[in-house]
Amino acid sequence: MTPAGSLLIAASLHKTYGHTPALDGAEFSIHPGEVVAVMGPSGSGKSTLLHCLAGIVKPDSGSVHYNGRELTALSDAERSGLRRGEFGFVFQFGQLVPELSCAENVALPLRLNGTRRKEAEARASAWLERLEVADVAHKRPGEVSGGQGQRVAVARSLVTGPRVLFADEPTGALDSLNGERVMELLTEAAREARTAVVLVTHEARVAAYSDREVVVRDGKARDMAGAR
């Protein structure tokens, strides 16, 4: 696996929280349109790797290259702007703003980026339809099921047409049927839009939706595509 043609490349990432090293020389790369599963036991540094890749957290050392730009050299505002415009995010839970309706939640990233309300909501409802949850558009997150809420979250992560989608245990709180449907919809939509997906999961059946997997153990990431 050569990094050539990669969209996002991380090299020798180190990150320590307090005295516990979360990342200890992790490497990673992903191509446009590729779905890469990041696997590993809990506490291995999966989420930290995702946070560093997405520019949410600055690594202590190492580099993260996105599309020719060094993320670690960008200011907080620039990284925020990048996350608003080019990245999308899905988390396991607690990500929808409870007082906004589902449609408003999906429209939120667009509106943060300055899109006008009408247009943002039109695009949001198109995505809700695509994820088969058009009927909950006007309900609040508290009033919908977990699976529906997660689909709303996926719709929200894709509505800006991101180039990289970061999904941290996106089906962690769902049963297998719902989880699978969410994964199907997510990967399908991502492949279609040539969106790269960094999929952090500890579930093999979820990881099976990826093109290849990277195993994080003791803060080191191992790309299993080249293991054989």
Binding site: V57, S80, R84, F89, G94, Q95, P98, E104, L112, R117
Partner: protein, 805 residues
Amino acid sequence: MSGQGAPAEEARPHVSVARWAADLAMGGRFAVTGGRESWARTIMTAVGVGLGVALLLLASSVPHMYQQRNDRGDARSTLSFGDTQVKPGPDTLRIADADTTYHDRDIDGTVMAPDGKGTPPLPPGIDRIPAAGEMWVSPALKKLLDSGDGKLLRDRFPYRTIGVIGDGGLSGPTELTYYAGISPKAFGHVNSSQHLDHWGLENKGKNEPLDPALLLLIIVGCVVLLLPVLIFIATAARFGGERRDRRLAALRLVGADIHMTRRIAAGESLFGSLLGLAVGAGLFLLGRGLASGVDVWGISFFASDIVPSAPLALVIAAAVPALAVVVTLIALRGIAIEPLGVVRNAKPKRRRLWWRMLLPLLGLALLLPLAGGFGAGTGGGGDMKAYQAAAGAVLLLIGTTALLPWVVEAVVERFGGRGSVPWQLATRRLQLSSGTASRAVSGITVAVAGALALQMLFASVQAQDSEDTGQDPNRAQLMANVPVSDGDQARDAFARYRATKGVSDLLGVTEDYVSDVRPSEEDPSSIGEEAITVADCPTLREVVRITSCANGDVFLVDSPSYYGEGEGFAKPGAQVNLTYDEEGIPNLKEKKLWTIPATATKVKPRQDPAGGERTGIFATPAAFDVANLPDPDASAMIRLDPKVPDGIEYVRNASVALSPAMDVMRLSSSSQSDEFQAIRKALFIGATATLLLIGASMIVTTLEQLRERKRLLSVLVAFGTRRTTLSWSVLWQTAVPVVLGLALSIAGGLALGVMLLKMVGQPLAVDWSGLSTMTGIGGGVILLVTLVSLPPLWRMMRPEGLRTE
């Protein structure tokens, strides 16, 4: 009682007192043993409740404070009721008020001299009557005299300080007062004096019924100031409630029933409020110590005066924990704590308008019949009317507060997702929980509405009171009435003032009366009198309208309608009598005659700088020798040199040298009643304090809300939300309810104000300055809450929040 799956209503067993006590105690234990978080919650509640309790204790001390102060004031009073004037005797004391002012602070002074060789009465707080040239001073005055600031004041008192007046002789610790001894002869230079055979009032006014209007003001004032405190206490009892609910859910899981969880929650609040009582008592004691040094508008209290009334203190001690428990139970009514979590009633009942409207309407209904007739009602119904008015005002105020949640809900519901992202976040948040927001603000409503209404009342009364004085401070700034026994002394006094530092010019008039040379024809016992004013030409120009003036001229001004028909006796060429007997009656037996020159011209009067108009004979010194006046009054209108600082103090010092009991009046174009000024200030301070208190509870609520959504905030940061976006949403979230609360309270306050004005028969006038100040303070609170919330918000917006799972 398995209680399993049984509906809550059925499973209401007979709960024994012991059960209650055990559950309450368990709640109390939770309040302290739940780790740092529950300690923080308990402390927040305790501090909040404590602040409120301290205020309540202070309020309950007010009667005692005034009682003590008045008692001491009465004990040293020199007023005597009744007609019997004390005749000088061996055991009497001759005294005169010798009040003065220094740098705008009033100093109460009494000069005294024993009438005989006996034992004159001793005022409270001093050991012996000061001999001539000695004085006793209050501690505060001593401090002032000893300080660099009091340098000029030292020259005013030609006395040796022999001691400090004891607390028993003072109304408050910061009072400036002195007792000085002077020689009996010096009383000759004192305008008015009296003899005393004892100090203090003997028969104090026996519980005079309170003026109904005053009672009304007091009741409304109490409601305005104390209701927000109660609301604050109620809010404080609910600090951290959401988290506590989750803890209770965990208790349900291990088998507690609904009633038990409620009792445990009540126990937690009870513990917090009991701790709050202790904190409040501590704060009160602390504040009491500090309060003894505080001087507000010349009123101060000894710490020992500030004692809460025992019954009121008991009521506070009982009511505050009860309030906390009741508030908790009511708050829990709207939510169901299930074993697996807290279920807030997803669709809370729509707030009903009718009973909320009922309260203020009832209030108005009580007030309306009184409109226009309150002041007039001097009959026996006055008391009833006062209670009716007070009840009406209180209902109107409480009703306004009760309307607030409905208004907030109704308005917020109409926002419907339009506008910028921060606005959308804020309004949606408010739509979901408008109750929390309006609860916090409801204190504002009552405080601002009440303060506004009282403002209007006072402003209008004040506007009437502060009529034009007619004084013209451009022509002269000071006025001194010098007690003189003859015209020479008047001349000397003027010369002395002229030589005083800081005086640029002086208009001195010497006045006395002259009489007709013959008794009236109709009534032989009455003799016509006319004023005579002697002054130099520049001064005369200030008091009569003249075009030319030379020393030696005499002018005449007719008294209006004094003689009914025709002219008075004072005509050019007429003779007038200058002598008076000891009783002050024209003495026609030993006449001393003076002829008004035939050249005297009739002129019109002119308002002098002090606003007075003089009539009668006006003579220049060359035309009339002031030495001929038997008992003249000398008035000096003084122009100050604006370049000399403290000119007025030099003039006052010079005055005291002329007479030990003389004060100097400062001229101003309009006079304001000091009391109303003070009350207005007090209202502002009270309203500001309330708004700050409410701001504090809003800060706590906002922070709590932010902490609850730590994870959500981290997620929002992850997908690139700007700090400013969320900061603005916090601002809007605070601003919307505060603005609505202010709007409602302005409406309610204006309504109540109009009613109050109608009741006391004052013209309607809106106190715009008060209104804008209140609005400004409200805006300040919004900003304050937002600013204080920002650092924690930004701290929570860090991505570390994503890690906790």
